[in-house]
């Protein structure tokens, strides 16, 4: 039992911290000063993840961790890896918020409470191994994020974006819930392992087979069950794809991203994605993935996701091309990045063994997903942070023209921003390159050559609009009379920028080490997140 609390530590820190923040905010005389505590809470939660990573290493530990929650939550290394991304994203976003909200006269304590609870929700979602837990996590996360999107109360865009996000998000949550209900109805289980076991066995209604015409009735019921289960799977995919922002469930992304205050945008793009992908790994691979076979198409979801991946890449990139606002461009490109990650996701049910002790193709692909999420998190938060510095008090730098001449005016900001942009564009030696490289490798290993080619072509399109930022920064002068940005004095943002820039470079320099952690996270998962080799 003492283990149970220990495993819950990352979430408990955030939850308890969230309540404390609320109290502090209620009783303190003046606003502000909560950014650092919030960041510290997140980093403490991240530290707890790191500690648990080492604490619960052996399979016996993992089994204990799994049984500690009766199949509600899995605190295995996959969860810890995702939790670490969430803690990192939340902590850095709060650091950004500390300076940003002040500067834009938005400083109100509830932002920090919201972000803390949302992070706790993200962690629940990432570790959920029960459909009810998935829903609770999803809603905890979403409610915080909806409110954060609407945080600029006087701004119509913010309101509009938040309302759309909320309405459509409710719709998506309803789809997910409906899918879950159908699965429960067909199998009698809400826990993923139970559903998986029920689906693996042929339908059996006690006593029915013995009755007259019972065999036929049974086979009809079997058919009904199979059909409904497949429909439920599609509904669940739709619900989670919404959170990822995959096409065609992406329409809310640009509005919400643009309307939200920039720290919230950075936060949404990173943590919500990480948590939702985690849940997808557990649900799709864990329930429908035929994870013991040599190769699997698992009821068609990989093929389905492959199409979602390509659609997300293409639409995200093409629309990003024509944006004049960098913030909106980053929003659309986040749809494209979701597509790239989905491309690796498609391969996760494959169980062919790789040479060199790298596990199976599926495990390598799932590790690519995790690695990509981490790489995207550091690059994206950094990019948003640098964008904040490029703006000035009360006026955000959002358009390409706003960053013109930044290279001369503020070389350090420009240098940092170019690191992140290069990383997002996937140019070596930044970490983004290796993230894409891993995905392409996974796709090729599973003979999804067309998917790999689609990814490469899209990545090349992406380079075009990403490099436009660099061209603007270094080769263009601001238009005469344009307002010059005066970077705010903000140790929080600087700290974030340095931290993420170093990570972008270090992870780019030693990608295999970090990929190794991701692979370990996949291999040491209690509930399957990728196809393991047949023993």
């Amino acid at each position: 039992m003492k283990d149970m609390l220990l495993y819950l530590l990352p979430i408990v820190i955030l939850a308890v911290g969230g309540f404390s923040l609320m109290l502090v905010d209620a009783f303190q005389k003046e606003e502000g000063g909560l950014a650092i505590p919030t960041a510290m809470l997140h980093f403490a939660s991240g530290a707890a993840c790191l500690a648990l990573w080492n604490y619960a290493g052996s399979p016996a530990d993992l089994a204990r961790a799994a049984s500690a929650f009766n199949g509600w939550l899995a605190f295995d290394r996959t969860t810890l890896f995702l939790d670490l991304i969430i803690a990192l994203g939340g902590g850095l976003a709060s650091l950004l918020a500390g300076s940003y909200l002040n500067e834009h006269k938005l400083e109100r304590g509830e932002f920090y409470t919201l972000i803390t609870f949302a992070s706790a929700g993200c962690m629940m979602l990432a570790g959920a191994t029960d459909l009810i837990m998935v829903f609770i996590g999803l809603e905890t996360m979403s409610l915080g994020v909806y409110a954060m999107t609407a945080f600029r109360r006087t701004n119509a865009r913010s309101q509009e974006g938040a309302l759309k996000y909320f309405l459509l998000g409710s719709f998506a949550a309803a789809l997910l819930l409906y899918g879950s209900a159908l699965l429960y109805g067909m199998t009698g289980h809400t826990d993923l392992a139970g559903i998986r076991a029920a689906l693996a066995a042929p339908l059996d209604v006690p006593g029915l087979a013995a009755q007259e015409g019972g065999a036929l009735a049974l086979s009809v019921q079997q058919t009904v069950r199979d059909r409904v289960v497949i429909l439920a799977m599609v509904l669940v995919i739709a619900g989670l794809a919404f959170k990822i922002g995959a096409v065609p469930f992406h329409m809310w992304v640009p509005d919400a991203y643009e309307g939200a205050p920039t720290p919230a945008t950075a936060y949404m793009a990173v943590t919500v994605k990480a948590a939702a992908f985690g849940a997808m790994l557990r649900v799709l691979v864990g329930v429908f993935g035929d994870t013991t076979g040599a190769a699997s198409l698992a009821g068609g979801w990989p093929g389905l996701l492959a199409w979602l991946a390509v659609a997300s890449m293409v639409i995200g990139n093409l629309v990003a091309l024509s944006q004049s606002s960098i913030k909106r461009m980053l929003a659309y490109s986040s749809i494209a990045h979701g597509g790239y990650i989905l491309a690796a996701f498609v391969v996760t049910p494959r169980a062919e063994l790789l040479p060199g002790g790298e596990g199976t193709v599926g495990q390598s692909a799932a590790a690519s997903v995790l690695f990509y999420l981490l790489a995207y998190a550091v690059s994206n938060i950094g990019a948003f942070g640098a964008l904040m510095l490029a703006g000035s008090r009360g006026k955000e730098a959002v358009s390409y023209d706003d960053v013109a001449g930044l290279g001369k005016r503020h070389p350090a900001v420009a240098l940092a921003l170019s690191f992140f942009i290069l990383s997002l564009a996937g140019i070596p030696p930044m970490v983004g390159f290796f993230a894409k490289y891993n995905v392409i490798r996974s796709a090729l290993e599973a003979n999804y050559t067309w998917l790999a080619i689609a990814l490469m072509v899209n990545s090349a399109i992406g380079v075009y609009y990403y490099l436009r930022v660099l061209v603007k920064m270094y080769m263009h002068d601001p238009a005469p009379g344009a307002t010059r940005a005066e970077p705010m004095v903000s140790p929080g943002i600087w700290l974030t920028l340095i931290f993420t820039a170093v990570l972008v470079l270090v992870m780019g320099a030693m990608p295999q080490t970090f990929f190794g952690y991701a692979l370990e996270a996949v291999k040491l998962a209690v509930a399957p997140v990728a196809a393991a080799a047949t023993p």
């Binding site: 309405l167 459509l168 058919t223 599609v234 076979g293 068609g300 024509s322 030693m510």
Partner: protein, 852 residues
């Protein structure tokens, strides 16, 4: 030299035991790289904060530490390789290495290759390491004096340190990939430093030119590298070498394969005529994968090391600060190409035709650049073309198979050419940035330290017999060229010899001309008499010098002041380099004198030993009596070149005060003008390459960009715009639209899983054509099997089973390309009753029937 080394070797292990566990983990190598990187980071980020002194100390100290550690590492290497071993036992490891971390895995050929960040010090990289860190340290010291009036000193030292870091990566990296990282890094630093005074458009353009020309070469390196790794299955030098040194190894066979496009290319070149086709196939007998790899890598070398036809960037690169020219564009970076050839000599020896190409290119470059240098009037331009020419010597040496001789010239050249460039910088510094030979003269009185060292270095480069390093290295490579036997093109050695002797004669002439015009005669820079400046304007000296260059290099006195000698910070490095230009050559005393292998040759012998295709085609047997004849011939030829060249120069510029040249120039006006215009190669490239490209890009910009790209972008942009138009009209409608899209997507997804059953079929081939099959669908999938591939599925009709595994013994069919395959099929029905059929052809082992 070796005595020093030996005594160092005594001390080294005691020191290095603290930091080193074994030769396979020698962290000092990491420190050697780390120091310049730290220096670069400090100077780059906090340069302005720590101030001028701080930047100088950081910049110099980090590189000096690197040099000291290099000496330590070198001594340790010496000790390791010379450790006494029992009779008949294998030598100790001849390399020190340090693995930093595993980088990433790359699929190469059929396997997966682990790329590592690992640094290796062996005999070859040891020599380069000492040259780079040693000369680098001196030039950093000199720079502190040279840049003392420049505002951008922090940026300068940051770039210079970064350059050192990249160059060390290039040298110490143990794989092609790491070498390429360094290769790109030095290119970047070179670009940044050439355009250091970027506010001057001409200088910035010179940087850009260097960058673009080098990109052409880089494509070659990438191609060559990829082919080599693909065919040998490794990026690591040691592994490639090991596979190639085994006679008849698969890698060797793979390299010797002719690519299919070989025929295609030859076919196109011969316009479909068989006679011509045979001709091409004879001319290019090494049009194999390996030959192509070697060729492409050589293309990269011509870019980086400024050989024909890609040499054009180097003379322009002299726009950068002079110490940069000395370090990057004379002593170190430009020799990277030679280093690459030496590093991969074990590949190159298998491809004599490529070597012949290299030798001829090198020799022609030597001659061509020397001819341009004859008539240039700018101090640094002459030295620049001289560098191109000397690099040609090195390539010619490598091309005739004398890799160690080529490297010997790299090393001596680094000493005297760095000395010359720094001397030129000192002259410019003293003479208010004047570098036109017609405006200089008589400087030996004013700047005696510079003069003395410049004189010694000039004597070295023109190969003054018996006392200078230049003589020994030039003699060595002339001799090797004469002696070499290229098995495909036997004439190459003699040809190279003749051309190089000619080039050496020109070298002697133009270097003496440079020396005489700069330091002898009468000073013509400005009037030294106070009477000529009646108005006594206090700031009269503000209006000379380069516009971007103006805050450095001028005396702070009156306009009539004579040139002043530079501070000791600047001339002490000159003395060190001049000293090395003399004694540095004694490590390579010829066999003729000592009757044994020189220290140099002995040191590098392991790098030059290549099993497999025997190196004896190229090397010489010392006992051979012909060797003596050849060596004497080479020495006489070298002496001839020195005597004629310098003698003519002496007669022309000292005795006759330039009159004969003026007469010659006016009588052969067009030829002279052509040489002054550098054979108009730049104009030729402009006409043949740049203009058509610009035209094409104009067309692209006008049509492709405007109509296609912009059209596409506009079209795509119209979608959100159209959407937003809808939004504006129906304020609340938009969420419905979004939701509608979601519903549409959901319906499409459901339709997809309903109508498109998807299954995968996995097959395991066992012995005796036995195949195990396993099908994977998903919930509700049922199957019909046809494991024999004869078109009859079981069970028949509408019956489907839930069996997912089958095993069968198949009767294989032969395919046209000699493989044997079995056909298997399965029909799957999903929960919604829709079916799909999956057919697979599974390859089975051909067995001994084919005897493959």
């Amino acid at each position: 030299m070796s005595a020093v080394l030996q005594s160092l070797a005594q001390v080294a292990p005691q020191v290095s035991n603290f930091v080193s566990a074994s030769p396979s983990t020698y962290p000092v190598l990491g420190l050697i790289l780390l120091f310049p990187l730290i220096g670069s980071i400090i100077n780059g980020f906090w340069g302005k904060k720590i101030g001028r002194e701080g930047v100088y100390i950081t910049g110099i100290a980090t590189v000096a530490m690197s040099f000291v550690l290099s000496l330590l590492a070198y001594a340790t290497l010496y000790k390791t390789t010379h450790a006494p071993v029992a009779e008949g036992a294998a030598h100790g490891p001849s390399q020190l290495s340090f693995l930093l971390w595993d980088w990433f895995r790359a699929p190469v050929g059929a396997g997966v290759v682990q790329l590592k960040i690992r640094y290796v010090l062996d005999e070859l990289s040891g020599v380069m390491l000492l040259v780079v860190t040693g000369v680098g340290t001196l030039i950093h010291i000199y720079s502190a004096g040279y840049m003392s009036h420049d505002e951008g000193y922090a940026r300068y030292f940051a770039y210079l340190n970064l350059f050192m870091f990249s160059m060390l990566n290039l040298i110490l990296g143990d794989s092609l990939v790491l070498l390429f990282v360094g290769w790109e890094g030095v290119g970047l630093c070179s670009y940044l430093l050439i355009g250091f005074w970027y506010t001057n458009t001409a200088y910035a353009n010179a940087g850009r030119k260097a960058f673009i020309v080098n990109r052409i070469g880089d494509v070659g390196v990438i191609l060559g590298m990829t082919i080599l790794a693909w065919k040998t299955g490794s990026f690591e030098f040691a592994q490639i070498r090991e596979t190639l040194n085994v006679q008849g190894s698969t890698a060797l066979t793979a390299l010797a394969e002719k690519p299919e496009f070989n025929d295609v290319v030859a076919y196109f070149l011969s316009f479909g005529r068989t006679g011509l086709y045979d001709f091409w196939m004879r001319v290019i007998p090494e049009f194999t994968w390996g030959g192509a790899a070697c060729f492409f890598l050589f293309v990269g070398c011509t870019g980086k090391s400024a050989q024909l036809p890609l040499y054009v960037w180097l003379p322009d690169a002299m726009a950068g600060p002079t110490p940069v020219s000395a370090l990057i564009h004379a002593a170190t970076m430009v020799t990277a190409g030679v280093y690459l050839l030496c590093r991969l000599s074990f590949v190159y020896v298998h491809f004599p035709s490529v070597l012949a190409l290299i030798a001829v290119t090198g020799a022609l470059t030597a001659l061509f650049a020397a001819s341009i240098a004859l008539v240039q009037t700018e101090l640094k331009k002459v030295l620049a073309y001289s560098t191109v020419s000397q690099l040609g010597f090195m390539f010619a040496a490598c091309g005739v198979g004398a890799f160690s001789a080529g490297l010997f010239h790299v090393y001596t050249h680094a000493m005297f050419k760095a000395c010359l460039f720094l001397g030129a910088g000192a002259v410019m510094h003293a003479c208010r940035d004047k570098q036109d030979l017609r405006e200089l003269g008589g400087l030996y009185k004013f700047i005696p330290h510079t003069f003395r060292t410049f004189l010694v270095a000039t004597l070295a480069i023109i190969g003054t017999p018996f006392v200078t390093a230049g003589f020994y290295s030039k003699d060595e490579l002339l001799f090797r060229a004469l002696e070499s036997q290229n098995s495909n093109h036997p004439w190459v050695g003699k040809f190279v010899f003749v051309v190089l002797v000619l080039a050496a004669t020109m070298t002697a002439f133009y270097m003496c001309r440079l020396l005489f015009l700069t330091f002898f005669g009468k000073f013509k820079g400005w009037s030294l008499s106070k009477a000529d400046y009646p108005e006594h304007v206090e700031h009269a000296h503000d209006d000379h010098g380069h516009d971007a260059h103006d805050d450095h290099g001028h005396g702070h006195g009156n306009p009539w002041d004579a040139p002043k000698e530079n501070p000791a910070l600047m001339y002490i490095p000159l003395y060190v380099l001049a000293f090395m230009s003399v004694v540095g050559g004694f490590v390579g005393l010829p066999y003729l004198f000592t009757h044994k292998e020189s220290v140099w040759g002995e040191w590098l012998i392991r790098s030059a030993e290549h099993a497999g295709k025997p190196i004896t085609d190229w090397a010489i047997t010392m006992a051979d009596p012909r060797v003596h004849t050849a060596e004497v011939t080479a020495m006489i030829a070298g002496f001839f070149a020195f005597a004629v060249g310098s003698g003519v120069a002496y007669w022309v510029y000292i005795k006759a005060d330039g009159a004969p040249v003026r007469a010659l120039a006016s009588s052969a006006r067009p030829l002279y003008q052509l040489m002054v215009d550098k054979w108009r190669v730049d104009e030729l490239y402009d006409f043949v390459i740049v203009r058509p490209l610009r035209f094409a890009s104009d067309v692209a910009a006008k049509f492709i960009d405007r109509w296609i790209i912009d059209g596409l972008v506009n079209l795509v942009g119209m979608i959100p715009r159209a959407l937003s138009a809808v939004v504006r009209k129906l304020q609340t409608g938009v969420v419905h639209t979004y939701a509608a899209v979601m519903v549409f997507g959901l319906v499409a997804m459901i339709a997809w899983v309903e109508f498109r059953p998807t299954v995968s079929l996995a097959a395991t081939v066992e012995a005796n054509n036995r195949i195990s099959l396993e099908v994977h669908g998903g919930p509700g999938y049922t199957y019909q099997w046809d494991p024999e591939g004869d078109g009859t599925f079981a069970p028949t009709n509408d019956e489907y089973t839930t069996t997912t595994r089958q095993s069968t013994t198949c009767t294989p069919q032969d395919t046209t390309d000699g493989r044997r395959v079995c056909r298997v099929a399965v029909r799957a029905r999903n929960a919604f009753g829709y079916t799909t059929t999956v057919t697979r052809f599974i390859e089975v082992p051909t067995g001994d029937r084919e005897g493959r």
